[in-house]
């Protein structure tokens, strides 16, 4: 797969970015060998409505990368009346990677650090008003909160995707509270100048 194609994978605007598609696909393959279409369906089921964040081609692109990295193997399986399909399985290295991933306790980097540096940089260089940046960010996160709410209301009670949504919402709550603190700090900083 040429690099250009990989780079063209659009990041979802909604913010539920999946950085771990590789690992999730590997773990699905650890369960049983499977083909691209089925893997995509299983992934979608687990993500529920958040699966929209998954670009249609992402599963296939990722499988290609995994293949190049030697983490998956595949064999061609013939079908009646249809073209052959590739059935993927896990290589020994792939299996190792899955277990490393499951035990790995690193947590996705929280938004505060990056955003904080952005505000500090904006203020120091006089490039932008940090208070305005905070307002913009708050607006964006509130829109995400509303989107998560829309999704949550469409989910049946007790669904596994509902649990994921709860995490999304709790994270947004925390971020919005912190933004409130940022807004106050930079408003005061402006008054001190």
């Amino acid at each position: 797969m040429p690099e250009a194609a990989a780079a063209s994978i659009k990041e979802p605007a909604s913010g539920y970015q999946l950085r771990v598609v590789q690992e999730v696909l590997l773990s699905l393959l650890a369960q049983e060998a499977s083909h691209g279409y089925e893997l995509r369906a299983r992934l979608q089921l687990a993500l529920g409505p958040l699966a929209e964040a998954l670009n249609a081609g992402q599963v296939y692109v990722t499988l290609n990368r995994l293949e190049k990295a030697g983490l998956v193997t595949w064999e061609r399986v013939g079908q009646i009346d249809r073209p052959d399909r590739k059935v993927y399985g896990l290589s020994a290295t792939g299996r190792e990677r899955v277990f490393e991933w499951l035990e790995d306790t690193s947590w996705p980097k929280p938004a505060p650090a990056e955003f904080h540096l952005k505000l500090v940089a904006a203020a120091a260089a006089g490039l932008a008003d940090p208070v305005r940046l905070v307002d913009l960010q708050r607006h964006a996160l509130l829109a995400e909160l509303a989107a998560a709410q829309r999704t949550a209301l469409a989910e049946p009670d007790g669904s596994v995707a509902g649990l994921l949504l709860e995490g999304v919402v709790l994270r947004l709550q925390a971020d919005l509270r912190w933004l409130e603190e940022c807004g106050r700090y930079w408003t005061e900083a402006k008054e001190r100048r």
Binding site: L142, A146, Q149, A152, V169, L176, R177
Partner: protein, 205 residues
């Protein structure tokens, strides 16, 4: 709007004593507030009226903990709040105070219902509970059939009522409204150029 129009008297919910606020210093000193005594009881609506620049918004900001007074006291539900830490003030604003700002600050891309339910979601209510509550509030302000409308599809007065419903979302002790000049809060429109209103809900505690 029973919470708003109730005339039931309860104890003092919001109170100030000798409240002062000054901006600037020396030649540029501006005394925005000078010895304000205010008492709002549960269920009572108080409108503060006066010409532009007379300190109405400043008073509202002090009452709501958005700014700190230069001197004097602000009491909410029996507790002094003007000296709280920033963190405690933020919590207080989230839980006990509803704001209706001049510009309403509704989000254009969200429906009326979605705008109203945001504070409840932020306060940790479940998706369905927040939605139910938002629907009830919209009904209370007479906009039950406008829930799915975007702000752009509502009149100015309707947008204001959405902002009021949103301010009531977390059952605040008091609602502070800046320039509620439309007729929705009080039917009697003031002839002054502006007003600020504080209404205290019937005592919750």
């Amino acid at each position: 709007m029973s919470a708003i129009e109730s005339t039931e008297r309860a104890g003092s919910v919001l109170r100030t004593h000798a409240l002062e606020k000054e901006y600037g210093e020396g030649e540029g000193l501006v005394r925005a507030l000078d010895g304000v005594e205010l008492e709002v009881s549960g269920g009572e609506t108080v409108a503060v009226m006066g010409p532009s620049g007379c300190g109405k918004s400043t008073l509202l900001h002090l009452l709501g903990g958005l700014e700190r007074p230069s001197a004097g006291e602000v009491w909410l539900a029996g507790a002094r709040v003007d000296r709280l830490s920033e963190k405690a003030l933020a919590r207080l604003r989230r839980r006990a105070i509803g704001f209706v700002f001049q510009a309403f600050h509704l989000m254009d891309e969200l429906t009326a219902l979605e705008n109203v339910e945001l504070p409840a979601l932020l306060a940790g209510r479940s998706p369905r509970a927040a939605r139910r509550r938002a629907a009830v509030l919209l009904e209370q302000v007479g906009l039950a059939d406008r829930g799915e409308h975007l702000p752009s599809g509502l009149s100015g007065g309707q947008r204001q009522r959405v902002a009021i419903a949103r301010a009531l979302s977390n059952e605040p002790l008091v609602v502070l409204a800046d320039e509620p000049t439309a007729t929705s809060i009080r039917r009697r429109r003031s002839t002054c150029s502006g007003s600020s209103t504080a209404f205290a809900r019937r005592g919750r505690r």
